[in-house]
């Protein structure tokens, strides 16, 4: 669980003229590639019940440890004879919602803090930013582990923990963007025309925050999936028999010597998923950032 994607994303600069993402994608094949990958993952998650050849939690102990490419089991079976391919497909249904709820928690809480802090400044800013500093100073993974231990290990609590860990990223990003925007002429002009703070925030600030925030959301989704896998790997995520990738690696690692695919298959699934989100965020940022455009 690294804080790095966040640091990378804050480089994204604001542009006063908004760029429509679809428009932008046209000139950037990497964005299209990454976008399609992410879309594919969502389709898999959505269609898992229809495209899975087997029930992902049906135990068939006599059929355990079949190697990949066995008849009717494309990726083989696990220690309880469950179909690995089906479990991996269903795993997307676990990971993607977790990622999005966690990111939403971080985005909403962090966004509100950042907006208030940046727009109103003063005491608000001073106090809220100390809170964010404290949250940042708290080692993120240890914080997440402690939160899950406190609330009880399951997916909902893993989402909450990861969301809390993501708050400072959004708070700082939004605050920095708002501070920049506030100095721009059009905002000052609107304000002098007597617009209320609410309408300035809703009409002028938030729309201008969208692009960099979307980049960050994409990167944090990758981070959240990694974080969830890490928590599950430590036994603090999904409950059995939920087909969760991190959990599958945790159990699979036990069988590494004889049946390595039990850990390698879900490991690859996590890596591909996180890669897709990171690639999307990364390519969007490049596309939005004029300095880095090639």
């Amino acid at each position: 669980m690294s804080t790095a994607p966040a640091l990378v994303a804050t480089q994204a600069s604001i542009r006063q003229t908004r760029i429509h993402l679809l428009e932008l994608a046209r000139g950037h094949p990497r964005v299209i590639l990454a976008g399609s990958l992410v879309l594919l993952l969502f389709l898999i998650a959505l269609l898992a019940p229809f495209i899975s050849p087997h029930d992902p939690i049906a135990v068939n102990a006599d059929n355990a440890y079949l190697p990949p490419l066995s008849p009717s089991h494309l990726l083989g079976t696990d220690e309880l004879g469950r179909d690995l391919f089906s479990r991996v497909l269903w795993g997307a249904r676990v990971s993607l919602p977790v990622a999005f709820v966690a990111v939403a928690v971080g985005l909403v809480a962090g966004g509100v803090i950042g907006l208030i802090s940046g727009y109103f400044g003063g005491v608000f800013d001073l106090l809220l930013m100390r809170l964010i500093d404290a949250l940042l100073a708290f080692p993120a993974l240890i914080l997440a582990i402690a939160i899950v231990a406190a609330l009880g290990p399951d997916l909902r609590n893993a989402m909450i923990a990861i969301g809390i860990v993501a708050i400072p990223v959004y708070a700082r990003l939004v605050r920095a963007l708002v501070l920049q925007l506030k100095q721009m002429e059009f905002i000052a002009a609107t304000r002098s025309l007597g617009a209320t703070p609410t309408s300035i925030i809703l009409r002028h600030l938030i729309p201008n925050l969208l692009n960099p925030v979307i980049v960050q959301v994409s990167l944090s989704a990758g981070f959240a999936i990694l974080a969830e896998a890490t928590l599950s790997f430590l036994g603090l995520g999904a409950q059995v028999p939920t087909p969760d990738w991190g959990q599958m690696i945790n159990t699979g690692a036990t069988f590494l010597a004889n049946d390595p695919w039990l850990a390698i298959v879900p490991g690859a699934a996590i890596s591909v998923t996180v890669f897709s989100f990171n690639l999307l965020g990364d390519s969007l940022r490049d596309a939005l950032d004029p300095r880095l455009r090639s």
Binding site: A4, L234, G267
Partner: protein, 314 residues
């Protein structure tokens, strides 16, 4: 400059205070009882009560907090609930292993990042650039515990090139020490390598577009010399920043890697202590991690200003 540093230090006080409250409440409100963990199969109501009394867990929570706060203000982190060692000793015993792992991981990450990042920037848009950028995204996408498991499986269990986990202190056997640190350092440093490479690349691109580089080129300075002497030096400034922050976050970063490789570091101690409800040790480690994060941030800002005269401290 002095006022700036003072101001930053003063601002750290409320942050540290919030961290003490946060960690104390979080770990104490977590269900689970250290007495049950300590007693294991020897539990009895009398023994549990005796331990609660001994550890002061029978007092109201705010009293326990104030007692602890009073002690840490005097530099006393208390004793570990599980081993009775002073918390400073418990952490101190583990710190060298974590620092070594972090240092080797950092060296590995820079050895990969700086050359690849520079090449990618200089040959922007080339196949090499695309490959390097792809690798960078890949590097932060693979869970480090998974890298660890795969390395163990191939290099340690199957090929037996490296020992499986464990740690040998450097002063005991330098060669064995290095053999043990390599795999966990690779697992830990790969994400860092990817991030540092991205930073090197983007920073290098920016520097190469600067006027003075163009001028140097226009004057006919050899391209290699321009890149490696003039540009790289300046391009590494933001890399220093991110590396500084990585050093500040060493304890946290190592948590999972230390667990996978049974590396006796502070990160693993943190996880074990959370699981064993060793309140005092968890609190001590979080304080240490928070402190090193805050100091690293301050130092990074200072170094940044020193390297880049355009920034002034006010």
């Amino acid at each position: 400059m002095t006022t700036y540093v003072l101001r930053r230090l003063v601002l750290m006080v409320p942050v540290a205070f919030l961290v003490t409250i946060g960690v104390f409440m979080l770990i104490h409100l977590t269900p689970g009882d250290p007495a049950l963990i300590l007693l294991g199969e020897d539990r009895s109501p009398q023994a549990i009560a005796a331990i609660h009394q001994q550890l002061g867990l029978d007092k109201p929570l705010y009293v326990q907090y104030l007692i602890w706060l009073g002690h840490i203000v005097h530099g006393d982190l208390g004793r570990s609930i599980t081993t009775h060692q002073p918390v400073t000793t418990a952490i101190g015993e583990r710190l060298p292993a974590t620092l070594e792992l972090g240092a080797v991981a950092l060296i590995w990450s820079l050895l990969v990042a700086i050359p690849l990042g520079t090449i990618a920037a200089v040959r922007r848009g080339s196949l090499a650039d695309h490959l390097a950028t792809g690798l960078a995204v890949g590097g932060v996408s693979i869970p480090n515990f998974f890298i660890g498991i795969v390395l163990i499986f191939f290099l340690s269990v199957t090929l037996r090139l490296f020992p499986f986990g464990g740690y040998v202190p450097f002063n005991q056997d330098p060669f064995e020490n290095l053999r043990h640190v390599i795999l966990p350092a690779i697992a830990l440093g790969t994400a860092g390598a990817a991030i540092n490479m991205r930073f090197t690349r983007s920073s290098m691109i920016e520097v190469l577009n600067q006027d003075y580089i163009r001028t140097a080129r226009a004057k006919g300075a050899p391209w290699r010399r321009v890149v490696f002497i003039h540009a790289l030096k300046n391009a590494l400034i933001p890399v220093v920043t991110i590396v500084g922050l990585q050093i500040g976050g060493i304890i946290e970063g190592a948590v999972v890697t230390e667990t996978v490789f049974t590396w006796p570091g502070v990160g693993r101690l943190a996880v074990e202590s959370i699981f064993n409800r060793d309140y005092t040790v968890v609190q001590g480690i979080v304080l240490l991690a928070a402190f090193s994060y805050l100091i690293a941030n301050l130092l990074v800002d200072l170094v940044y200003g020193w390297l880049d005269p355009r920034i002034s401290f006010t």
